[in-house]
């Protein structure tokens, strides 16, 4: 039980790596930086694997396994321990983060080989791993918040890694500021949690929540308020409507960063929080509905933007936003396990997609515009095959990882406890669009004629340290779905069974559900489906595959069979195309609605008004008074004898008059 007793080791490894590389790495050769950077994360992964082995030996009543190290904050009734915990959800997150993180570290040794600031990159990357592990292993909201903000910081540092490029520096700031909007709600949510439950420790919160009734749909009770506030943080961090705008810009960072932080791990933190706080969410149906609606809308909305983007990383960025929407949709309809499952498979295939895209960019010597690629299939075969697998996985081809996880979510949206047909249709439409834009990406990049200058660009396959992680991830993108061996192909859902304790321990029990049902009236949207729903589902199970096929055929038609027809369609729907190409002008709308007014107020009111007039006025005013007074008094000491004589005479006269006056008073 080495690691269960010393959970801190998992956090200490990447932190030590970050500190070592950050402080000393500047003078070290790259091989040393490599061994420290990659080594610490690989050790962390091995430690996580060992932890899982030890975890499997624990008895059910020992889970969640909480380890408290010291009292961190003690202020009256408000006490926070620095405590870590391990339960099934933590294990899933831990393995996913450590595994994908390790592969991406290895990949980075190839991708960043010719970049300056090599030690800095690995230091930041290790720092990110430290905070991400803190986030998933925390046993209370405050420690989790440390990880939450820490990954935000690492994200900022890594997006702006090439900080001399203005667009990269701006993108880093944008990411930080936009997520801050959500974090405001998150912070208030944590405070509200303490206010309601008197504790921030998961175990205590959930224990108290378990005895609370389900809140009615129509009112905003304490649980609904807490859940909505926490979800606001999740919206910012996980780039959902309307705070998704920072994620596409975050592609300014190096591609491994996009893969690790902005696809596989950090952006899923919001989903993790919703899943972690499931005892609260399950008792706040209105919050659940909001989560599901935001998720469903985002899944569809950002997929439409992905249709027309030409930058290979931008397509993947909008795809990530869309897939995160699916995860929230899954959580929102009550299928937390499905959401987390999609989180895991998404980490595999989207991480792979980004890494493969990085490999393409590497091969093209930095080119990211898909219109200047084409026909790369034969030239970079490893990249092509791995990307093909990832594309098939995300598009939902039966048997691959994405198929299982997405189907589970869509199934839950159609027949789960909080199902609604609209949500299902949104998800389904998004699935079709996903298939289209992913195959469009694949066809534009790897098929057709080459649209680049073959003399100028020397296309070459990436080195081994880049292709091997691709192949390993491809393996998981291919087979990752079988962790769940889902019941829709007749297996037992091991994944859901594994996570069952986390999502059922504090779930509303029968009486509460019945109470809720009586509150809601005779027939909620989900009730009365029963076995009928099972039949219905069987009829629907094929739909995701069918729309994926439609998406594929459409992409094939427009980009392989009849490339000129794509132009025709574009010309026909010019206005719509422009709207999509400009991302619904959301950035421009935000700039007009928020950024520019804020800038105006800051410049004219706060800067020129408050700062320059009020504060500078006071600060400069005090010395000005002293100086004016001094220069007036200085006139007395002129060095002019006659003026001195005048003062002496005046003084003598004044003194005499005073004396006479006093004498006169004394006499009377």
């Amino acid at each position: 039980m080495l690691l269960l007793d010393h959970l801190w080791i998992l956090l200490a490894l990447p932190l030590a790596g970050a500190a070592t590389n950050g402080l000393l790495g500047k003078r070290w050769p790259r091989s040393t930086v490599n061994s420290v950077g990659v080594g610490s994360v690989s050790l962390a992964f091995l430690a996580a694997a060992e932890l899982v082995r030890e975890f499997s030996l624990l008895k059910a009543d020992q889970i969640p396994y909480v380890k408290s190290y010291f009292t961190w904050i003690a202020a009256g009734p408000f006490t926070v321990d620095f405590s870590l915990q391990v339960d099934q959800l933590t294990v899933v997150m831990l393995l996913t983060v450590a595994f994908v993180g390790m592969l991406i570290h290895i990949y980075s040794t190839g991708y960043m080989a010719h970049e300056g600031g090599y030690y800095r990159f690995f230091s930041y990357l290790n720092l990110f791993m430290f905070f991400m592990l803190t986030l998933v292993m925390a046993a209370n909201l405050i420690v989790m918040f440390v990880g939450w903000e820490g990954v935000g910081l690492s994200s900022y540092l890594l997006i702006g890694f090439w900080f001399l490029k203005k667009s990269a520096a701006d993108a880093g700031k944008k990411a930080f500021i936009v997520t801050r909007l959500g974090d405001f709600g998150f912070t208030v949510g944590i405070l509200a949690t303490f206010w309601v439950f008197g504790s921030v420790q998961y175990g205590e919160i959930f224990g108290k929540a378990a005895s609370m009734p389900i809140e009615a749909n129509s009112q905003i009770g304490p649980l609904t308020a807490i859940c909505l506030l926490l979800f606001l943080g999740a919206i910012g961090k996980s780039a959902q409507l309307p705070l998704y705008v920072w994620l596409p810009d975050a592609m300014e960072g190096p591609t491994p960063v996009s893969a690790l932080i902005h696809a596989a791990t950090m952006v899923t933190a919001g989903v993790y929080v919703v899943a972690r706080m499931n005892p609260l969410f399950s008792r706040a149906p209105m919050a659940m509905l909001v989560v599901a609606i935001v998720g469903g809308l985002t899944a569809f909305y950002s997929a439409t933007i992905g249709l027309v983007q030409t930058d290979i990383k931008k397509v993947l960025a909008y795809s990530t936003v869309s897939q995160l929407g699916y995860m929230f949709l899954g959580c929102g309809v009550g299928a937390y396990a499905a959401g987390i499952f999609h989180l895991m498979t998404h980490a595999f295939f989207k991480g792979l997609l980004f890494l493969a895209a990085g490999s393409v960019i590497h091969a093209m010597g930095g080119e990211q515009d898909m219109h200047r690629m084409g026909g790369l299939r034969k030239k970079i075969p490893v990249t092509y095959w791995t990307m093909l697998i990832a594309t098939l996985a995300i598009a939902g081809v039966p048997g691959l990882s994405g198929f299982f996880s997405k189907d589970e979510i869509l199934e839950a949206a159609a027949s789960g406890p909080h199902a609604h047909p609209t949500l299902w249709i949104l998800g389904l439409a998004g699935a079709g669009l996903t298939s289209f834009y992913m195959f469009r990406l694949l066809f534009l990049t790897f098929f057709g004629p080459s649209r680049y200058d073959e003399h100028a660009v020397h296309v070459h396959e990436s080195p081994k340290n880049m292709t091997v992680p691709l192949m390993i991830l491809a393996l998981f993108a291919l087979g990752g779905g079988w962790f769940a061996a889902p019941h829709l192909v007749g297996g037992t859902d091991h994944f859901e069974a594994f996570l069952h304790p986390v999502f059922q321990a504090y779930a509303p029990v029968g009486a509460q559900v019945a109470e809720q049902a009586s509150l809601a009236g005779s027939a909620g949207p989900s009730s009365g489906l029963g076995s009928e729903a099972g039949e219905l589902f069987k009829a629907l199970a094929g739909w995701p595959v069918i729309v994926a096929l439609i998406g594929f055929v459409a992409a094939w038609w427009f980009y392989i069979r009849r490339p000129e027809s794509a132009e025709r369609v574009r010309a026909r729907f010019g206005a719509l195309y422009q709207v999509l190409l400009n991302k619904y002008y959301v950035d421009e709308i935000y700039a007009a609605l928020f950024v520019r007014p804020l800038l105006w107020i800051s410049t004219n009111l706060l800067w020129h008004g408050v700062d320059e007039v009020a504060i500078d006025g006071v600060v400069d005013g005090v010395p000005r008074v002293a100086r004016e007074l001094g220069s007036q008094l200085r006139e007395l000491q002129s060095g002019n004898t006659r003026s001195y004589a005048t003062w002496v005479v005046l003084g003598a006269v004044g003194f005499t008059v005073l004396l006479l006056g006093l004498l006169g008073m004394a006499v009377h």
Binding site: S638, G639, N640, T641, R642, A645, T646, V649
Partner: protein, 102 residues
């Protein structure tokens, strides 16, 4: 023979002193200022003598002798300073003598 009342002496003394003070303040020539100071000293002497006479005491007379002696010493030192200043600065105007160091 009627005695001149003491107030006459005192008024004269005050007028002389005032003239001296005004001259010290408004005149620019060092020699003139010097003479004005002598005038003030002697105005005070007059007041002393008048009081001594009025009260029939000798104290005021003693003071007057001291003042005369000190005024003589002051005149010696003062005129020496005036000569040095004139020598160094080629002027007798006090307005030009506003610096300790040339």
């Amino acid at each position: 023979m009627s005695v001149v009342p003491i107030s006459y002496y005192l008024v004269l003394s005050a007028i002389l002193f005032g003239l001296g003070a005004v001259a010290v303040v408004f005149k620019r020539n060092i020699i003139t200022i010097f003479m004005a100071i002598e005038l003030m000293l002697n105005a005070v002497n007059l007041a002393f003598v008048a009081f001594a006479r009025a009260h029939g005491q000798i104290d005021g007379l003693v003071f007057v002798f001291f003042v005369i002696v000190v005024a003589a010493a002051e005149a010696a030192v003062g005129l020496a300073i005036v000569i040095t200043i004139t020598h160094n600065r080629q002027t007798l105007n006090v307005e030009r003598v506003n610096l300790l160091k040339l």
